[in-house]
Symmetry: C3
Subunit: 432 residues, 3 copies
Amino acid sequence: MDSGILNENKGEELYTFIKRLYPICRSITGNGVRQTLAVVQEYIHLQIHEVPSGTKVFDWVVPKEWNIRDAYIKDSSGKKIVDFQKSNLHVVHYSVPVNQELPLQELINHLHSLPEHPDWIPYRTTYYNETWGFSLPDAVLQAMKDDTYEVSIDSSLTDGHLTYGEFFIPGATEEEVLFSCHICHPSLCNDNLSGISVMTHLAQTLQKMKLRYSYRFLFIPATIGSITWLALNKDKTVNIRHGLVAANLGDPGHVTYKKSRRGDAEIDRIAEVVLRDSGKPYTIKDFFPFGYDERQFCSPGFNLPVGSIMRTPHGEYPEYHTSADNLDFVRPESLEDSYRKIYNIISVLESNRTYKNTNPYCEPQLGKRGLYKHVGGGDAQVDQMSLLWVLNLSDGRHTLLDIAEKSGENFFHIKKAADLLTEHDLLSEVER
Amino acid sequence: MDSGILNENKGEELYTFIKRLYPICRSITGNGVRQTLAVVQEYIHLQIHEVPSGTKVFDWVVPKEWNIRDAYIKDSSGKKIVDFQKSNLHVVHYSVPVNQELPLQELINHLHSLPEHPDWIPYRTTYYNETWGFSLPDAVLQAMKDDTYEVSIDSSLTDGHLTYGEFFIPGATEEEVLFSCHICHPSLCNDNLSGISVMTHLAQTLQKMKLRYSYRFLFIPATIGSITWLALNKDKTVNIRHGLVAANLGDPGHVTYKKSRRGDAEIDRIAEVVLRDSGKPYTIKDFFPFGYDERQFCSPGFNLPVGSIMRTPHGEYPEYHTSADNLDFVRPESLEDSYRKIYNIISVLESNRTYKNTNPYCEPQLGKRGLYKHVGGGDAQVDQMSLLWVLNLSDGRHTLLDIAEKSGENFFHIKKAADLLTEHDLLSEVER
Amino acid sequence: MDSGILNENKGEELYTFIKRLYPICRSITGNGVRQTLAVVQEYIHLQIHEVPSGTKVFDWVVPKEWNIRDAYIKDSSGKKIVDFQKSNLHVVHYSVPVNQELPLQELINHLHSLPEHPDWIPYRTTYYNETWGFSLPDAVLQAMKDDTYEVSIDSSLTDGHLTYGEFFIPGATEEEVLFSCHICHPSLCNDNLSGISVMTHLAQTLQKMKLRYSYRFLFIPATIGSITWLALNKDKTVNIRHGLVAANLGDPGHVTYKKSRRGDAEIDRIAEVVLRDSGKPYTIKDFFPFGYDERQFCSPGFNLPVGSIMRTPHGEYPEYHTSADNLDFVRPESLEDSYRKIYNIISVLESNRTYKNTNPYCEPQLGKRGLYKHVGGGDAQVDQMSLLWVLNLSDGRHTLLDIAEKSGENFFHIKKAADLLTEHDLLSEVER
């Protein structure tokens, strides 16, 4: 299992998937989530869970289900100033139904815009506060006259369900790797259709492979979704050995990895080695208790070894949570790069083993086994050095990851060296 | 207990106190020390200790008591070239009595000046070597003619006492915080009337407060004073949990903290966080076995967690140990800043506790308790982040200091967050 | 034992020794090695070991012995184009005998040159691959016409012995310091006549001294020599407490120390302190499993605390392994500097002890013992600080090396301070 198997044009595939999901109006509950998960089901055998409103999940309660059919603001001439059919960002998500006429001075308290980006529609929600509102370009807001407006939100907020998807791939052991992405955002591409797309395609690839770890993929609404899953599956968390929360994987920025609360978990070290080996710019951040669902996975009671992978972090790009996080903002090449790096992280996870040099006293004679290349420039030297590093550090106490870290050599060169030496009976695997 | 209570004009108060003590001729023993401590007694119920000359204190012996009434050098015309009444720095401290006529060529061996600062009088001592001498401006020295001079030092060096002051404030526990300043320097403001002033006023403030720790303030002559106190109070040192030696607190430079010999004592970490949180420049130095009484408190047999706080370190400003360390050199605003920073250190010491999140599985729902502010700019975000950090790290193993260090948040924001969460039963204190 | 005893003109002595060994044609076996060791025996009572070809040494086998008398290439006019008598680098070492006529197009496969340095002869070997070849300046190669050439190599490759030298100096304890240098290179000065010269002279000096450690010097062919010694002396390795591999000690570059595989061995820390104290530029490298015989000493089965000392590392200077590594390339002053630094490392090894302050409560009164100098500028302060550091850190847990590291003071100042304090009964040595 190494990164060499990815020869398809993944970037376009990942992008096309986003295009298909873009128009759907998702929220933390409701039919948009169901439609989205139905599309994912075309790729993987996703199990759909429906958790009733009112279910107690730790300190929280599963909220009412919200659905929306239409919403608009009309001026006194009957012209639609704001139309939900044109963008599902126009309505504040979780708005209660409304149908009334209002003067501008009252309506304005329900309107949200971004003066610094007058053509963009901001994304706003009101999950735990029963009110209503509209988002609109500031240019439209500024042009509104002192008039009486008809506002209509044809929504429902009623007992129903919180819906999430779960996909489990059994591996050789019960030890699990958890992947989680949030599915609650409407027409926003980077945050987080990019995450849904990359996770779906990774799961599709992994399900065909022979794996050491078991893998669990969660497609959940942010915050309440992870809290719900953790509350209903507390017993399963004991098997989680590694995990990643994935979001913002399609923007043009470089990859950022945010460490787990532990800070030195194997996944933290692997992510850093993979990004280092890529030879491209990257950022490593220490854990902080803000962001996405790592907040819940890394809460002190769980303290799971779950990091977060993204490109530009949320809030650090102006398009974040606006209509400008659209199909132009995400790039096939960024999606593919994110996919490959996460795939490489999985490859390292799967192949990080510990070995013992079977000939630990002095170096073995590589030449008589055809393993000695005269040290010249380029690749030959790299391979020679990888062999020597693996021999030198394989004392039963260093993993291949340790060796890759200590030597500065590419992990997959180290792995290849270990395989070659194992073939020649110069190395034998040990249980950690 | 936080820094908010200091609304008085402390700077002027601290400076006025220095002005009052400035004229007194102090040394390591003698009436100048007694007069100084009598002034301190007007502020706090200082206990005065008198230790007889000849008392054995570890490897040392309490020296004879030195007192001086007058000293001068007259030229052959009877004109006073050097006059103790004009500056008590003119005489080398601990000079034996002398009254004789001398030619310049002999006298010159007893004269001390600073050629690089021709108008300044250096401060010189001869505690453990019975001789005599004068200090004078180099300009005066250079103008002295080949003449016969009358020198007179009306001093006494006889069996008497070493005098020091001690003030103890009992707190809720027997665990002690030790503050120590030296009181043996004559008319020198930064070194160390500034230390005496800040310590006196801090003690005055603390005695009115309800405190967790007990506090012990020592007003002692340098070196022999701390050795004497330690020798006579060895049993008391077991209760010392934290300590600070204070000197040079009034000059215009920024604050410097010199760590205890341990290097990672709680006081060392607290001082660094308080200075970091101040947003002003500061310097942290590792321990070295030179300086003030930390040399004794941090000797290997005691190894007490005692750091040193100062502004510009001794020897790093040219005015050090000269007549230029005068009332112009120290500043009310520097004194106040030193006072506030030490006060903040005490505040952190008093409030550094360990908590356990009572809802450790996932985040609690802050919104339903009115603790959730939408993350915007400015202070709101700071508070929100402090709440999240305290919740995330309160696993019974992190102190509030640990959280302030790890999060980079201001300690008092962290403390406020902990108080708020405790009020809402989301946090409970644990014994460390 | 300190660096002060070296008042001779070591540089010239070390250089003269190299001049004498330079013409000899050494290889990993053969008479050149024997001649070289015979010269070393004039300085120290070197024991010569002869290990038969075919002896199994771990994963290796001692090779056949190679000797060479003459070699040349003649053109069809009978003119010698390449002549072994002019440089022993002209023949590829371990070439099998050959005597034949060849057209240029066939001969060229056996020729080695350096196009980037057209006047230099490269050094090439073929120890474990039975073939033959010549090295020559690229300028000569380019001038060769399409002709028939007579090639002759009058060598022998037959069962014989691997020869190495060993010199043991017994010290007060069985604990050993191992020094190793390789002796297998022909007319190459820096790599490694410089190493042989410095090791021989150091051994000569040490044998006259009273030493705490026992010292073992190995003069061995690279790789196969250390493997052979380790295979035949595995039981002796348990006494090795410290060690150095020495090579490339005469070039004009600054000193480089490469750490042992352990990375924090006492020898690693001592080398760094000695280089730091020298006040000259130096480089410290972490261990990597390439280079000289540290590869074998630091193989995982042995993991000996053996570092490597050199000036410019092999491969980092263009003259490396060419005829330009000649008598002009190495310098008396570089050889002397290398010698002194290794001598200082030995001095620190010999004198690194642990002490306890006999007066641990507060500082002792240095003045009454004549140990107190008023802190002025220059050396006085250095000495005073060394005394204070030794007193402060001598708690039975810090070695003198620890104190030198922590204080930043020169190790030998620290040592002198410890001796002085011991004389005054203020310090007593403790067993570690």
